[in-house]
Structures are given as C-alpha cells and as structure tokens.
Symmetry: C2
Subunit: 193 residues, 2 copies
C-alpha cells in the first residue's frame, strides 16, 4: 500500500524554515543551550505563522548531539496530536528506526520543551524512552493564553519519576514565556481553547 | 518540502488488511456494533502480527457513519505515539481536513476503543474533539499483560467529563479481553513494559 488513494495517509514533516533556525551538526553542551534551541523553534513557529508557540528538541544526554526537533504542527497539518513534543518523539524514532529511545544499544536521550507538557505529551514521554525532561515556561504561563494542559496532576510527574524519568522545571522560563506573549500579541489562534 | 531526503518523514497509513475487516459503507447503529468493530480490528492486528492488541474507531454519533479506524502501530511503524486511538484521531482529522472533530459545521463524533485509553490517548481525546468515549477492556485487563496505562487517575476522567465528554465503560469487556488473552498466548511483544 505504498500509495493508497482510498484511505487517508498522514504525513508528518518539518516546515521549510527548519534548517534556518536549527544547527544540526553542533553540540549542545548545557541545559541552557538545549533549551534555547527549543525556544528558538517555538519563536520561529510563531513568526512564520506555522503553528502554536511551542518547540521541542531531543538530545543524547551525554554527548549533547541533537537527534530531532519538533514544533507545534496542529493547524499546519490538521492533526490534534502534533504538539511540539510529539513531533520530536516521532522524528527521533523515525530517524533511529526504533519505537523507543531507550534500549541496550542506545545512548540516553532527553527532551527539552519550551513549555510544560500537556497530558498527552506527558503520557507519550513515558512511552518515548527519554530519561530526562526539561521544560521552560510553566503550565500557568500557557493557561494565561487559554491553552489547556489537560489532566496533569502532581501524581502524574511522580508516576514518571518512579519510572526513572528526571524532570527539570522552568529552565529559561522568562525567554520561553516571551514567545507565548509574542503569540498573544499576534492574536494567534488558540485551538482547543 | 514535498520530498525531503535530509530529514525524516513520518508516514502513517493503515496496514493492507484493513479492508478485509472493516465494512466502510455500512451504518453502525448501536454501541455494541461500534465496539465490535473496534474489537475486530484489535483481533486482526494480533492475528496478522501487525501490532499490539488494541483497536479503535471513530463514528458520527447520530448517523452511525464510520469515519476512521485505528490499530496499534507502534512496532509496525517504529513510533511510540501510534496507539490505536491516536491513529484513529489522525486518520479522522486527515479525512475531514480539520484538527478538531468538534466544530460548528460538524456532526458530533465519538471514539470506541477496545481497551481503556492510556494517559497519552486520554489527553489526545480532549484535543480531538470527540464528545463521547466508549471503551471495552479495562486498565486492569491490560495490566495483566504488563501493558502500562500511565498516569491516569479518577480525576483524569472527571477532567474530561467537566468538558462535556461522556465516558462509557466496559462495553463487550469479555470480547475485548479475549483479544488481550490471544495476544498473550501468541507471546506478543510487550513494548514499553
């Protein structure tokens, strides 16, 4: 079924601008450098009007090698599941050819996301195989724009932590929040509001 | 970027067997008929060895028209996000050309899934626009196979219900559970265990 006209085929790819904002071959040594990339992607997504104000990236924890990025693509691709984190998970797994980023022959991977993950993305984090999550802006920052994060509770984070996933909060929060504010100023579309 | 060799492209499509098990043009009048389709898909996914024992379908609530189906495609497509419900949401939205199944010019849609949704799928349910969720087997049935449902709490369901989403539990639970048992007998791969 390489080309199936009868049924829908969902195709997820980066927007054209991705290579203008992402330096694929450099090393991202610190949390600040990694988060700054996620925030740059969120900002570019707003400025290009290609989606919501959310960006993400997946790195090898030790080497700092960049594996994949993600940007909110809900409106661009007519797909409610394509939050920035989800696009990053999908692209990373497609790239390495595995449904988990955690395996005996794989380095440890981590997710950096410009804003606290919603319920869907937090669930996917558990399945993704990343072993560390770093976020920028907080749930409350997104709520000011009427973005709903869904059923996420303190127990949700405890659930992930019990399975060995480290959570790091509010890294470069002000920079991340500034993109949310930019989006508000541009009167961006708040889907699922 | 119609063909981009530099970056991964994620392509989500049905397995070839879908038309053998899904009657696309008939009307599914009752919850039992709708659930039986979701269970048939879960069973076929196991028998064809194309994925985990989970199937889903999205219907127009009033007309009973079938919009899309989904089957667990995590291993088949190397993508941790592709649970049955997620594939169903993506396919339905691709088909109608909207990131939400809830809109002023759209009929009410509902999800039927052969097993209680995990945390990711429950979050996505909120964003999908379906206004009713019907599930077959329960979380405890899946747990017996070491499938983890993630951070889902009673409050998670309350969150959805407060936003107007009706939850209907354990429809044809025994039939749905039988597919989980079939999977166990075939010693299926329990990913993310």
């Amino acid at each position: 079924m390489s080309e199936n006209e009868k049924h829908p085929v969902v195709r997820v790819e980066y927007p054209e601008w991705v290579d203008g904002v992402v330096e694929w071959d450099r090393t991202y040594a610190t949390d600040a450098e990694r988060m700054r990339l996620a925030i740059s992607i969120s900002r570019e997504n707003v400025e290009r009007e290609s989606g919501g104000p959310f960006g993400a990236a997946i790195f090898e924890s030790v080497s700092g090698r960049l594996i994949a990025v993600g940007m909110n693509s809900v409106v661009r691709l007519n797909n409610c599941t394509l939050h920035g984190e989800m696009v990053a998970f999908m692209m990373a797994q497609q790239k390495i050819g595995s449904f988990s980023l955690n395996g005996p022959n794989l380095p440890v991977h981590e997710l950096h996301t410009s804003c606290e993950p919603c319920a869907m993305c937090l669930g996917a984090t558990l399945w993704s195989g990343v072993q560390r999550v770093v976020y920028g802006a907080a749930r409350e920052d997104a709520s000011l724009l009427n973005f709903d994060e869904g059923p996420v509770f303190p127990e949700s984070y405890e659930y992930l932590e019990k399975r060995g996933i480290e959570i790091v909060r509010n890294v470069l929060r002000d920079e991340a929040r500034a993109v949310l504010e930019l989006y508000r100023q541009k009167s961006g579309k708040i889907y699922n509001a």
